[in-house]
Assembly symmetry: D2
Homo-oligomer: 353 residues x 4
């Protein structure tokens, strides 16, 4: 194994990444070294690339970025038992402490001391990454590389859909960015009786229709709450999947949920929002679920089962697969809204391993 | 049966009630006429008495007020089968339409077309009240009259506690007005491992301690989140029962809940509030439950079981039982904070039936 | 309205039914009289027709049989508010007392004092039937008559599937009689990731495949537990839907469920069975659900949503629609296994109303 | 550390144990060596001591027995991070593989490849035991040694109670051996509204009353189902906790549960039993839960919370604390029914560490 590798690095507190030669990560007795083959670009990566307020407050350069990926096991620590060199894997990017109440009771995705790869510690936009054995997910041969590379955001969609519960239910999705779009076929495959999508972007709504939404609506359309109620016997939908983080969308979406319904909130508002708790949640008897990450590893099993069942087709969402050396072009495409999900190839372009 | 009865009436849009002679309510084929014996005064009644903004927006005088009560069946409609003249009863005060999705699926407490007695239609501060057979609750002989008269607010406490689930869990209650106070022995009897109470009023906190709180705290105390975490292995409580409606208490309470925990919101903020959804709910993976009324009739059965088990003692909360003719004194005592729960007696003072 | 009507009657304790002229049922203030248009034949009806041991122990002739039906409201009692003459309706055939703990807590389908139409009281194989207002289900215009006529058994399938929970889960169905067959498209539409069907009848397995089963197996095939485990990563299925009532199938099905999985039991064994509780249920940590009837009215709403979503096609299960006068032929077809579900037409053949 | 230690060993396939000098267990990088201080004797140990049919089929001598214990960490493997030498600990005795579906989804207690210490691999009746870091439970200082030594069976009781859910519910416990006895104060502390205990042994029923049962009954008493129904408004109990494994008790207990109720089965029948599934489970719409072991580590947290809350007192159940050298006397006391729970002391008697 070479002593150095290529990686996309945030070198200092300023916009952009650099392609750099850095040491291959060392591994401890319970760690696994993975040769990255493909990695997805997430909105979080865009924030770090652009070095916006959130990134400045959270990220401490220098840092290797990226957290959605798949590859093959290159080396394992002495105490590793469950995975072997050469196996095709992805990994959960939330590194939990595994010792707290939450980790010890099946809720490691909510560990208070979690570190996220590519955000809090070195990430996956590199030829190699080291993660704890616990985090490694062995890939079923039936999962294509591109899907495997984006199990992380697909898992966000699956976790949100499954936490809310959509079986024979009516569903509104507010915000169809890449995770919101994924949530459409996921919700249909998970048994939703009807799926409505709302966004400010007509192009995304067209893609939402392509992915199986029963109807789509511009968020700016007037009378939208009445429109949704008219389609649901006057009651409102059973389930809201909020994936925009927009205060207006949250307020609108909550109005669309029937009394006694469920709202799963995945979108992250940038700031505090003004909310009429009494009218939107309390009198309606809503169940509101904060959604974070993916369950370890219920969500991974569910995501695998969905992909293997052949019931979700994400090919229209993965708009580009590019060599990792073209990362600046990739972020430019995303900035311009000319791409949905871009996957970087760290294997085809590299001759180093 | 007399053709007229005494009742406490809101005659017009101005503060105060009047004691008036009004017709005894007529009953339809599925209605039950109840001779009221005891009735509790609720915060809602205070709002209507004072004729504040909320009352002006909601209530249409003239109206007989009051919604917490017990009494005996005086007459039944031709189609009534489940209850007989002379039976000792209370009644659910939310008159649901019984035909909508919610009513037909066990969630009548969330019916969109609900009418509340004493708020939207004539209420219980009278010698007689008519309610649908569906709403009548036959009282177990083991339930004392005073407890039976306040099954409505006690039911709010039980519903909140049971919706959240407290069995072997740590619990914070923010706001110990009469329902918050009731929630303390209810939570203990329902299996809470620990109960902490927070309020701005030291006298109520003293009562909270008397009722079984493990520790109580002034809401103004600094470092309160750390204090609660220190008492819960550093994690925070499993459950928040929010019973104040205060924006500050809601924000404080949500900080005290551990990741993955549950917050049940019963208190009604007077207006929209500013809330950091990301930090308080989403990243924490909280389950937030809007709580409204009482389940028909799970909550009534649970309340009955609790009282019959002898595990809750509300004698310190029912501070006064007064003849209904002293209603002005009762509202004065409540306004001054010199009473917790006042029960009006509509039987002892009256010779009319 | 005519004073007499045609009905299929069990006149006495012997095999067969007779077509008789009987009085149109009287209605009380809270009852609804329905002009029956179409009615499904159930296995229960076959038992009563054949007058087997179960029928002899349960049924008290004379009795109008039949419990699956749809029609139009012909008259309503004085206190009926939610339904009008002329409306197109079906009805829940379990007449619950509506006053007990179960009825008052959303579990009326488990009422201890339930009476079933066509079994314990006069049923639906007639021109008219009277049922309580509570039991009437107003039909959505999008529901075809034939589907509406079999909402009862379709509801059994939906209730079983939804009680077990199949969203993104692997499912085995043991026993694909008409309800087991219906459960296949229901499970798929409700989000099952995979559905396997087992039966002793190859023809039914062929129909199961047609209805969407991923794989089907003869119950007599050796190594079936290993076969199912091989298709589920070695774990076994997440969910068993037991719809045969066969002791052998119950034992086989329980072996196929993974540890921690769920088994929903709808099939009724004719007698006590021998069961290895320790190996089949306790050590495995299974959740076993007894399934009875349909939830009032969650199941009806779910069934309606499924049919309206266009995701289930039962046309291959409804093999015959016959005039009711041909009831003897219908029972003969069922006895010979030459029909799956037969619907009797009580409207087209009749000139009496 | 000494190279040899004292241990209670099953040397060969015959009744009894021997006190032997054996090597101190070696530890791997993720293992923890614990100096045992106190250990509880379980019914399983009695089976192995007596060398009955079950033991002969399951246990492969030579084997160090025992699985309930507490002690202090004596050494840790190189990769161990969460626990330090000298810490006071207990341990979950089910050694799961941590790599399967169940282990990866919060159900490690149901791992198909579990090994149980003292049954499948060397156990805790010794001066030292080695267990994986994952299994170690760090003890809160507030937990007394004797309680800590029996967290395993106490955890069985807690897991059964919490899986069933008893908050404001009526509960019957069939079988009050040591776990059934523990379940009484556990159920009360977890919020049960009423607890009834049934057994064939009057002495145990007396202890059940002492521990908080509302009423106790000899299993042989006639009319017992009616008796329980009379105490529960005619409905039957909400919850059955079956802790006897007796076919007769299972049948009796299931009859006592109300329609729609829950039965949690912990007791292990020695063989297949005859069960009327239709009458006892299916028509009643019961939820039946197979209970195995304890949840890792929800149950351990719950058990800790219960003991710390001061709401359970097990002093009357722990009838003896004996030096481990008196093991033959201990098993004799248990065989004669003269002891409930016996704790062996491995520290006080030993001078070797």
């Amino acid at each position: 194994m070479a002593a150095a590798m290529k990686a996309l690095v945030k070198p200092a507190g300023e916009p952009g990444f650099v392609l750099a030669d850095v040491p291959i990560p060392a591994i401890g007795p319970t760690d696994v070294l993975i040769r990255v083959e493909k990695a997805g670009i997430c909105g979080t990566d865009q924030h770090i690339y652009a070095w916006d307020n959130w990134a400045q407050a959270r990220v401490k350069p220098p840092l290797i970025v990226g957290h959605e990926f798949m590859g093959r096991v290159a080396a394992v620590g002495d105490a590793v038992r469950s995975v072997k060199v050469g196996e095709r894997v992805s990994a959960e990017g939330h590194i939990a402490d595994l010792t707290c109440l939450l980790c010890r009771t099946g809720q490691a995705h909510l560990c208070e001391r979690v570190e996220i790869i590519g955000v809090d510690r070195d990430g996956a936009f590199a030829e190699y990454i080291a993660v704890p054995e616990y985090n490694v997910w062995r890939l079923d041969p039936a999962i294509p590389d591109e899907y495997a590379a984006i199990f992380d955001p697909l898992g966000n969609a699956v976790h949100t859909v499954m936490a809310a519960g959509v079986s024979i239910k009516s569903v509104v999705i507010t915000g169809v960015g890449s995770i919101g779009l994924m949530a459409i076929p996921v919700a249909r495959a998970a048994g939703a009786a009807s799926v409505y999508a709302i966004d400010v972007n007509p192009a995304k709504l067209a893609l939402a229709t392509h992915l199986g939404a029963d109807a789509t609506f511009l968020a700016t359309q007037s009378g939208l709450v009445d429109e949704i109620k008219a389609r649901t016997n006057g009651d409102g939908v059973d389930v809201l999947l909020e994936m925009s983080g927009s205060a207006a969308a949250i307020d609108l979406g909550l109005q669309m949920v029937r009394n006694g319904g469920t709202a799963a909130l995945l979108g992250i508002p940038g700031d505090s929002i003004n909310l009429n708790l009494a009218e939107r949640i309390i009198f309606k008897g809503l169940t509101v679920l904060g959604i974070n990450g993916r369950r370890m590893f219920e969500t991974w099993y569910q995501t695998q089962a969905l992909v293997k069942s052949g019931r979700i087709d994400l090919s229209s969402i993965i708009t580009h697969v590019l060599p990792y050396t073209q990362f600046d072009r990739a972020f430019e495409l995303m900035r311009k809204g000319e791409a949905a999900k871009i996957v970087l190839d760290f294997k085809g372009e590299s001759g180093s391993s």
